[in-house]
């Protein structure tokens, strides 16, 4: 596998991140710390109000070494790229590693929902997936993280003691006891390890 070019590497493994209240602060400790050489795609769902636009891609594009964009429907997933789910749509990974958007009902009052991304990514990537649950005030993501672990992937949860919203990381730890529990400033390093062990 190591002789494969990096572009296809990214088609086979990925990082998914879910965050809610307090997301910007937590993500700021993680995404800008990923180096330009980071090979995995990073798919991010943040609970945002259902307005037409989210400022998250612009906000992080200026802070990150990796390209950052809003996910588009049927877009091929590229290595070393950070994708944010748009407002008012769920983000999913198709089995052939295209991104999909959906207008299905909100899950736990959220659209985009973390569970929807995580469960579809768990199906597509299997064991080559790392799921990260950050700060938040709902239980969204707990089922998705459990699905990632059930499919052989890895789980990381923000230490609730460092989180603005403790409910989401607490629910995730409960559903996935095997998860590594880390403060945000150590999560980027853990993702780098995952990236290196994948390649």
């Amino acid at each position: 596998m190591s002789d494969e070019p990096s572009i296809t590497r990214g088609n086979q493994s990925a990082v998914v991140i879910g965050a809610s209240v307090g997301a910007i602060e937590a993500l700021t400790a993680i995404l800008p710390a990923l180096p330009a050489t980071f090979l995995l795609p990073v798919l991010v769902v943040v609970h945002i109000p259902p307005d037409r636009k989210t400022i998250l891609p612009e906000l992080f594009a200026s802070r990150c070494h990796l390209p950052v964009k809003e996910a588009e429907d049927k877009e091929p997933i590229r290595a070393g790229t950070i994708y944010f789910a748009p407002a008012n749509y769920h983000l999913l990974v198709e089995p052939d590693f295209l991104l999909s958007l959906s207008n299905d009902e909100p899950v736990l009052y959220s659209r985009p929902a973390i569970d929807v991304l995580f469960e579809s990514a768990a199906d597509a990537y299997g064991s080559d997936l790392t799921g990260v649950i950050l700060t938040g005030a709902s239980a969204d993501g707990a089922q998705g993280l459990k699905a990632i672990v059930a499919n052989g992937g890895s789980a990381i949860v923000q230490d609730p003691a460092t989180a603005e919203g403790t409910a989401m990381p607490t629910a995730a730890i409960e559903s996935s006891p095997a998860a590594r529990i880390l403060p945000p400033d150590r999560i980027a390093a853990a993702l780098l390890e995952a990236c290196i062990s994948e390649s």
């Binding site: 588009e72 299905d104 199906d123 299997g126």
Partner: protein, 278 residues
């Protein structure tokens, strides 16, 4: 590496969709599998089936089961004047072009329970175009079509519809168009007097009319790229030269092989215009 469970479920999903197609000719085989699988997992729970194969067994052996399953296969989430800025753009940018035609045909493709249709009918009435327009409202789900034709919505959705209508540049009050009764809003049947409701599949059916405007929002996202291309091809074939195509706020022609049939008319609102040369 994919898990064995995921591989098995992918296979079961394909077999289920094959069974539905071969027995009932509803073709979901070119739908995006990720959200389809999610909705079928809900159906599994709803019908207390342990696997997609069990759902398939019931589809094949229980008459009357498929109609119960269909709502899980098609998505029926909409609202009136959803994305008000889309309707504002139709009103301000597209209507002046449509004014120049003596008669108009508008196709609401994948109309589901009719919210988009009534929005357009109200907009066309406000802009004085209703009397020269025929609307075609099509969907594969005949139950949804029947609800579209009834035009009855829960009262608790009306506040949102009203606010959307106002933001779309509405020139009248939404309450002019419905009567409230028993927690429901019953829309005036004159709004659909010029509408043809029809069972039509973007997967297998052909073009049926020459149109000036096609509005098909949040339908293509459920399709794989090849099926998206087919649907966009139908829209292109149906539209007159310089006719208009409106898509959902996160849909675009960017990844489509038929993209060159159209130019961007309002990029932000995902309104396209068929090129003059075709």
């Amino acid at each position: 590496m994919k898990s064995d469970v995921a591989i098995t479920e992918d296979l079961e999903l394909q077999l289920l969709l094959d069974a539905i197609y071969r027995k009932y000719h509803y073709d979901f085989r070119e739908y995006s599998p990720a959200s389809l699988k999610r909705r079928l997992t809900q159906a599994r729970t709803n019908f207390a089936c342990e696997s997609l194969s069990q759902l398939q067994h019931r589809v094949l052996h229980e008459p009357g089961f498929l109609p119960q399953l269909l709502p899980f296969l098609t998505v029926q989430v909409s609202e009136m004047f959803r994305d008000p800025s889309y309707f504002l753009s139709l009103r301000r940018q597209v209507i002046p072009h449509l004014m120049t035609y003596p008669s108009l045909k508008v196709w609401v493709a994948g109309c589901s329970t009719g919210e988009e249709l009534y929005s357009l009918a109200i907009l066309f009435r406000e802009e004085g175009l209703e009397n020269r327009t025929i609307f075609y409202a099509t969907d594969i789900n005949t139950d949804a079509l029947a609800r579209a034709e009834a035009g009855v919505y829960e009262q608790d959705r009306i506040a949102l519809f009203t606010e959307n209508h106002r933001r779309s540049g509405g020139k009248s009050s939404l309450s002019d168009y419905y009567t409230a009764a028993y927690g429901r809003a019953v829309f005036d049947k004159s709004l659909r007097a010029r509408t043809v409701f029809s069972d039509h599949s973007l997967v297998s059916d052909a073009v049926f009319a020459e149109t000036q405007l096609v509005s098909c929002r949040n339908v293509l996202i459920y399709f794989k790229r090849e099926l998206q291309d087919r649907a966009i091809g139908l829209f292109s074939d149906s539209l007159v030269r310089k006719g208009f195509l409106g898509l959902g706020s996160k849909e675009s022609l960017r990844f489509s092989s038929r993209a060159s049939d159209f130019t961007e008319f309002d990029r932000e609102e995902r309104i396209y215009q068929k090129t003059a040369g075709l």
